[in-house]
């Protein structure tokens, strides 16, 4: 039960980060809202797993948080960088 709650908390953190990314207008134009939310959920989960293995159970939630935050910023950063280098939307 505790482990299920932990997995759920990673996913919830990822979803929260994705919602923040939506509010911050970091969603790439070609993506759908649901797509970004699922992306955030997935990266939160993956970050939590990585943190669980690397740092231990106690630090898996902070790991989920920063992994999801970094991941949701990447598409917008990539698009912005591409715009500057290539000049293509």
């Amino acid at each position: 039960m505790a482990t299920f709650a932990l997995l759920l908390s990673w996913a919830a953190l990822g979803l929260l980060i994705a919602l923040l990314a939506l509010a911050a207008r970091l969603k790439p134009a070609k993506w759908r809202r649901a797509g970004l939310l699922m992306f955030g959920l997935g990266t939160g989960f993956a970050g939590g797993l990585l943190g669980f293995w690397l740092f231990g159970r106690l630090f898996s939630c902070p790991a989920a948080l920063w992994c999801a935050a970094l991941a949701v910023c990447l598409p917008a950063a990539y698009t912005g960088l591409r715009k500057r280098l290539v000049g293509v939307v």
Binding site: A2, T3, A5, L6, S9, I17, L20, A21, A23, A24, R25, L26, G51, W53, L54, F55, G56, R57, L58, F59, S60, C61, P62, A63, A64, L65, W66, C67, A69, L70, V72, C73
Partner: protein
């Protein structure tokens, strides 16, 4: 052209200009919202990275996890998903004085790759058999759930309500066992003593075999010098921050001191003193009984009973050289200069078991020696137990001090 149809003409009503300021305001708020969301996202990234990637961040998370468990004397519900499952192992050590019990509370999982090994803490809780005490078990489990391996040491003498300097050997051996416990880093093991257990912790931590390997010494409700403790008991007064205040002890320290010193007294005297203070204050000796005691036994009685506060110096002088040597042997003051690990002192400022002046004296000695230490006085503890019904301001103030000390202890394992 009709002036009424000319844009901007006098008297012409148009909805567009009035709506423009409202739309502009909305756009400004939306813009502000976007930036707030971006800042929050950035803060989440920073906070998450700090709390998992940085050792100081992990230390803070560990200390914040341990603090509520100690203050509430139980595991908060929100911690259940992130708490490590704990396994309790009981081992015994055969010594000349009997079996020493080692109660080990450890996370069931292996040590994570970062930092690669777990922190260990050897704990001695004072006189009596405290292995099943709810607050002791809760404390050990709280630390274990936060990733530490905690080993409680209980010796036959402690179970007999007395402190025996000879138990130092067993404590050193227990420390070495903990250093080699699965998942524990040999350089990440510290010691924690409560009340009379602090004396054994200090004596063992000063031992040449392990003094350079002890990561920290943390003491709650400790005494510094047995002679000054007897003096305070005899006067029923302590000097705190330069001011003399009256002080009344409970029966437990009197019983413990009587039991500890009794073996060094003439036959019969020791047993009588133990019996007397087991029923304290009801069992006070009559003048006839006092007259039958040896001078050093009578002096010790008066010091513990506190019935001759003006004759404390004379009573201390009446103790034999053997007794005085025993008192020195049991005092952390005799080994303070041999301690190499940082010392963290915690004391209940209204402690009725061991006066707070003892920890103040300990801190002063460490300061004179330029030894790394920290000292905090608390109102949330009743000697070593967490006080029930503490108000929020006290909880916040003492919680912040406890967090500071917990961080220093948790740093070792991060």
């Amino acid at each position: 052209m009709d002036e009424h149809n000319v844009p901007g003409g006098a008297g012409l009503a148009s909805p567009l200009p009035a709506a423009l300021p409202r739309i502009g305001k909305r756009a400004r708020w939306r813009g502000a919202g976007v930036w707030i969301a971006r800042i929050l996202l950035f803060l989440c990234l920073l906070a998450g990275a700090f709390c998992s990637l940085c050792p100081s961040g992990r230390t803070a998370v560990r200390a914040l996890t341990i603090l509520p468990g100690i203050l509430s004397a139980s595991q908060p519900i929100w911690q259940k998903p992130v708490a490590e499952p704990v396994v309790h192992t009981l081992r015994t050590l055969s010594t000349a004085s009997g079996l020493v019990y080692l109660d080990v509370y450890a996370p069931s999982a292996g040590a994570p790759p970062v930092p690669g090994s777990r922190e260990g803490m050897l704990m001695i809780t004072g006189v009596g058999d405290n292995r099943q005490e709810p607050q002791v078990v809760n404390f050990a489990q709280t630390l274990a759930r936060a990733g530490m391996v905690v080993m409680g040491v209980t010796t036959p003498a402690l179970m007999d309500d007395r402190v025996d300097a000879g138990d130092r050997e067993a404590v050193v051996e227990a420390f070495q066992i903990l250093q080699h416990w699965p998942t524990v880093g040999a350089a990440r093991v510290g010691m924690f003593g409560i009340s009379a257990g602090s004396a054994l912790i200090c004596l063992a931590a000063a031992d040449a075999r392990i003094r350079d390997q002890v990561a920290f010494i943390s003491l709650l409700g400790a005494y510094f010098d047995t002679t000054t403790l007897l003096e305070t008991l005899g006067r029923r007064a302590q000097v705190v921050d330069g001011k003399t205040q009256s002080w009344s002890p409970v029966a437990v320290p009197l019983q413990a001191l009587a039991s500890t010193i009794a073996p060094a007294l003439p036959d019969g005297d020791g047993a009588l003193l133990i019996q007397t203070f087991a029923n304290y204050p009801a069992g006070a000796l009559s003048s006839q009984q006092l007259a039958q005691l040896a001078p050093q036994s009578a002096a010790l009685y008066h010091l513990l009973a506190g019935d001759q506060p003006r004759s404390v110096t004379e009573n201390l002088a009446a103790l034999t050289p053997d007794l005085r040597a025993l008192l020195v042997q049991l005092s952390p003051s005799s080994v303070v200069s041999q301690l190499h690990a940082p010392v963290y002192l915690l004391h209940d400022r209204t402690d009725q078991f061991v006066p707070v002046s003892e920890s103040q004296a300990f801190a002063a000695a460490l300061a004179r020696l330029h030894h790394t230490y920290d000292f905090a006085e608390f109102g949330i503890f009743q000697h070593a137990d967490v006080r029930a019904g503490t108000g929020l301001p006290q909880l916040l103030g003492d919680g912040q001090r406890l967090f500071r000390l917990l961080s220093k202890v948790a740093q070792v394992g991060s």
